[in-house]
Symmetry: C2
Subunit: 480 residues, 2 copies
């Protein structure tokens, strides 16, 4: 032992416990549906079981693992459960876990090419694989970022930089040469766009939300009118964010018409395809990205709908130079003489960069493109099937089209017109189902109507799980 390097515990102990953990993970993934999907603990229940002060001396790994099972697990909401239908369901697929184990052990920081050439070059390769799978043009280059929130922040920072108004140097405030900036999105755009605008100094008032049509898609004519009005009133438009698969209903903004406007107005077009963009890998769904070949940037998240453990978001752009122009800062201690290599730290916010390409490489190879297509196709088929069941039941109504794998619906028995009462009933249905531990649903509101969202996206979700949640919905609604 004394001649061995210290790695925090005896290597043989690590070997033993590591294998126990692998055994547990294998059993857990096989049996995830035996856990209640939605944790039943009350606020404070986990915290109250944990010591308020850290241990002075080392504790045995046996004890730590036992506490993990005894204290932590009951407070887990099981995103791996095939009955997880809330938000956007995701998946910790087995090949992804293997890749992540190795990346964690290697623990490289891919800030510079030289700090692990494989991290940089594999990232170049797998993001280009993904680009091809999505059918994006070869001018797009990809970078892996932790989340879509940060990917969008990076894209909009670049959009601001593309105005060439010396924002990087002079900032935004106290300038008489710079009007109030404005970016455009729909009233169904994800909250991360508004968050990015706050951070960037654009402000919430600098986000103009264009109304959507009856199918929750941005109205291009209203966008054009808003831009014209804003310009007349002295605003400086700089970007439009469209969404392929909005969070509430997974609607798809009419990108080709909006791309026309962006081209005419010279505005940066950013596509939020964090969830829905991935569907473009399915040949018959390729059209969901129609017009996105004309975008300036596009984000899609393998950790949402490509079976990749959190976190892994891919930002594509045809303007890497603009990204670098916005972000590159190379202090002396990070200068290298490696020549024409790619130092990804120059592409965004974070200097610390985990080796996320590894798990994505494991996943794409292990599933194969056809394997991934098959799963996404099946998720969409299940959603359409569920939609048919809803449509066939007079006590229910569907509240949005189903272009992907999410169904928006509600219980609406004949004769009840009071929205408050409908909201209360549907909220009760969700709560009661979530309490069963068999399925986990979340909600949204559409035109003021409280809406149940069924989001299919976990790799283990099969027809029987979708049928089961429909049965639960019917049972719980019948009790009301």
């Amino acid at each position: 032992m004394s001649n061995q390097p210290f790695i925090g515990m005896d290597p043989e102990e690590f070997r033993k416990h590591g294998k126990e953990v692998v055994d547990w993970i294998a059993d857990y993934l096989k049996n995830a549906e035996k856990y209640p999907v939605f944790s039943r603990v009350k606020p404070g229940e986990i915290k109250n079981q944990l010591p308020a002060t850290p241990p002075a001396t080392s504790e045995k790994m046996e004890l730590i693992l036992a506490d993990f099972h005894r204290i932590i697990l009951p407070g887990i909401t099981h995103w791996n459960h095939p009955g997880f239908f809330a938000y956007f369901a995701n998946s910790a697929s087995a090949p992804g876990i293997l890749g992540e184990m190795l990346a964690t052990a290697l623990n490289v920081n891919g800030m510079l090419w030289r700090t692990s050439p494989s991290a940089t070059e594999l990232e170049e390769v797998v993001t280009d694989w993904l680009r091809q799978m999505l059918g994006l043009p070869s001018e797009f280059q990809g970078v892996i970022i932790d989340t879509a929130s940060v990917s969008t922040l990076v894209a909009l920072t670049a959009a601001r930089e593309a105005m060439h108004k010396r924002v990087r140097e002079e900032g935004l405030s106290g300038r008489t040469d710079l009007p109030h900036l404005r970016l455009y999105c729909s009233d169904h755009t994800h909250s991360s766009i508004e968050k990015a605008a706050i951070i960037l100094g654009v402000g919430q008032e600098g986000v103009r939300k264009i109304p959507s049509d009856a199918q929750f898609r941005m109205k291009p004519d209203q966008l054009a009118a808003a831009i014209a009005e804003d310009k007349k009133n002295g605003w400086l438009p700089f970007a439009v964010v469209v969404t392929v698969g909005t969070t509430s209903t997974t609607s798809i903004d009419p990108v080709p018409a909006i791309a026309d406007i962006c081209q005419m107005e010279k505005l940066w077009l950013h596509v939020d395809g964090a969830y829905g963009g991935m569907a473009a890998i399915v040949p018959e769904m390729r059209s969901v990205l129609d017009g996105c070949d004309r975008a300036d940037s596009l984000v899609t998240n393998p950790h949402k709908w490509l079976f990749t453990p959190m976190d892994c978001s891919v930002l594509f752009t045809r303007h890497v130079d603009t990204l670098k122009q916005a972000f590159s800062l190379v202090p002396e201690y990070l200068k290298t003489t490696d020549g024409k290599v790619n130092n990804y730290m120059d592409w965004g916010v974070q200097l610390g960069r985990r080796f996320r390409a590894l798990k994505l490489w494991f996943i794409i190879r292990s599933f194969g493109v056809e394997g991934m297509i098959g799963i996404l196709r099946e998720h969409c088929r299940l959603a359409r099937e569920f939609a048919l069941w809803v449509d066939a039941d007079n006590n229910f109504e569907r509240l949005a089209p189903v272009p992907f794998s999410v169904v928006c619906f509600r219980y609406h028995p004949k004769g009840i017109l009071d929205e408050g009462k409908l909201e209360h009933m549907n909220a009760q249905i969700i709560d009661r189902i979530n309490t069963t531990g068999e399925a986990f649903l979340s909600h949204t509101k559409l035109n003021g109507r409280y809406t149940i969202r069924l989001a299919i996206g976990n790799i283990a979700t099969a027809e029987k799980h979708v049928a089961r949640v429909w049965k639960l919905v019917q049972q719980e609604s019948a009790k009301l």
Copy 2:
């Protein structure tokens, strides 16, 4: 198999390969020093071995793992190597890897309390443990963020919000009521502060770099003078960033004097203790955080100097309300009725949040506080010892004090006065040592002088490795 949920591969295959991976990790961590620490591949060498297009059909995990060993490993720069002395060395400790394996498998998104109560409540507990270990006052609350770059961005967004100038709502541009914003740091501050200023719309000109003294510490009198001058000239100061452990030399800004200025001027005081702040867990080094109890926010990175696999940065603040005021955006689909719980998505940029608290909990318990103190103490002792060797050799000179575990020095034989020549010689020493594969060094510049940095921070680094790199430095310099 058909009755089993699909997890991306056969669960028994996962079990088998998972154990192989654990065996490999155990052997790898034991034998990391048998690899060349600095990858020897040439640009493009990894990429050229990888197919340009993704595989259409599934590939066997045996093949993927074989390619990992054959193609990826040679392009890894081994951050686990005890001879890794570049940048800030870090550690993928064995307990941290076990915690990360479980977090990856659970794959929860800790955006809301309800999306896994354990993720939120364990984060509250372990960040408070760390707060106590650092000796920070109980008003500080912690949140785990991926990197210090983002932690600092979050802190400075809050600082901007704290001005109460309706920046969140109105943004920064096109406003006649808002002068040009300014924040202050030293000329040794990390590049991430300037990057945050760019993103925030403060701009590079909005970052005023205060000169440092001979020991690379911000001069408080110059700070006070700069603020006075800027106010007279119409700037709006809003924040000061001090560093405990700067990147080049690990110098410590005089926080108490600067805190006085911030108090008087009502400026947000942010402490960048990403690396050096952690040393405050060592009782006799507690004073490195003197004055930081008066800060508004402080960041320190367990993934730097607390044996935590990437990524894990902890942001402490006494102004959680201001963070939430800046960032909280709760669309309908994320609204809950859970009552008074903590939804960490409101504290920062990212909506997607990995369960990072788990690995930190494993680490603190497995090492115990005393165990962690012992390792940091030893790293600092080794650095002081190395500094003595440098000081005792007439051909070398030390270029900065050694308050932590980094030594700045250069080869400087008597009679050579030309800085260009000295730079060339010292760059050659680094290059030649890095080529040996036994040690990896990086550089900085101090007052125009090219400087070799020896950064001790990997958990496996022992006296023999430090002695060895000193021998290599002497050998290579003698050859010049």
